[in-house]
Amino acid sequence: MPVYTININGENKQVDVDSDTPVLWVLRDSLRLLGTKYGCGIAHCGACTVHMEGDAVRSCAYPISAVGDKKIVTIEGLSENGDHPVQKAWLEHDVPQCGYCQAGQIMTASSLLAQNSNPSDEEIRRAMNGNICRCATYTRINRAIRTASKDM
């Protein structure tokens, strides 16, 4: 199998995997970064969202061979002490219920706010459409994003 060097959370890591291995399984199985979750495996639910050069990419549908020198950030690397404005707002609004989707939700929300620090409700709704919460905590998610936008 080929060996790939990828930059995860600011560090270069070498992994020995098949070229079509989704980044999700490289993170979880090879690097044991378990914060990024498997949900659907077809890029429909958003649970596996990570940042790739700042974009909210679905890691379950992205092959390791296509990463190249793009920098990847996972939920573990979003902030040093869990104090990213979105993470703080998440706690303030007590967003998660079961919590399974929240890593993906937070990664998408933080990517949104990095690109647009003061989004409208409509922009938040459109940007978060690809992240499903089976507990339907959408109202709290939207409130937390609005709160986080004030700290950006």
Partner: protein
């Protein structure tokens, strides 16, 4: 004195004869050249005006362009279509100004340069996008005539002249319609058959069928 008189007496007629001769030679040469050109143009024009061959080829082209593998990314709206039944794309991704999506919902966030194995995983292509917002190039709902007229109009086809339109058959995103993986239905013609029909339609005059 005699010689001087003689030369002045014949100078004008000789000059007139010389000018007339040159004019006749030029006229013959021009006619000869135009005869050859006319013969060539005639053959070429006959070929260009084969409207029956052009329209017959476009019917094949139309069957591919209206297939979900092509039409799903040429929707009558700002959200792409999805699947063999051309339903509205899950998660409602928006076209965006450049056709590549918006903010956290860019096409490339799920459609990577290459896909991953699986029946329902997102197809990959390095240039995945819809037509841009200022020229949506809608296929959905167009009749064969409407679509043919739209395709040849540079104000509606992405500013392509006929040569660029012809070359569009080689576009990687066009080709990806035959290489999306999984159990997705393929267009009704093979890529090679489509390309031949596309060229036949354009080379025979890019005629639009009547409705």
């Amino acid at each position: 004195m005699f010689n001087t008189h003689l030369s002045s007496r014949y100078a004008k007629p000789i000059l007139k004869f010389f000018i007339f001769s040159v004019a006749v030679i030029l006229a013959i040469a021009y006619k000869s050249k135009n005869d050859k050109k006319a013969e060539y143009v005639l053959l070429s024009e006959i070929r260009k005006k084969d409207s029956i061959a052009s329209i017959t080829a476009f019917k094949k082209v139309y069957s591919v362009l209206m297939h979900p593998r092509c039409m799903n990314c040429h929707p009558d709206g700002d959200i792409p279509l999805q699947g063999d039944e051309s339903r509205i794309h899950n998660m409602l991704p928006q076209r965006g100004p450049d056709g590549k999506g918006i903010l956290t919902m860019k096409c490339a966030n799920c459609h990577g340069a290459t896909g991953v194995p699986g029946d329902a995983t997102p197809p990959g292509n390095p240039h995945w996008h819809l037509p841009p917002a200022d020229m949506k190039m809608v296929f959905q709902g167009r009749t064969a005539r409407e679509l043919a007229l739209q395709l040849v109009n540079p104000d509606l086809n992405g500013h392509k002249n006929m040569e660029e339109l012809r070359l569009h058959a080689e576009d990687t995103l066009v080709k990806s319609g035959w290489n999306m993986g999984g159990d997705r239905e393929l267009p009704p013609l093979s890529y090679q058959e489509f390309k031949e029909a596309w060229y036949e339609w354009i080379d025979n005059g890019a005629y639009a069928p009547s409705n």
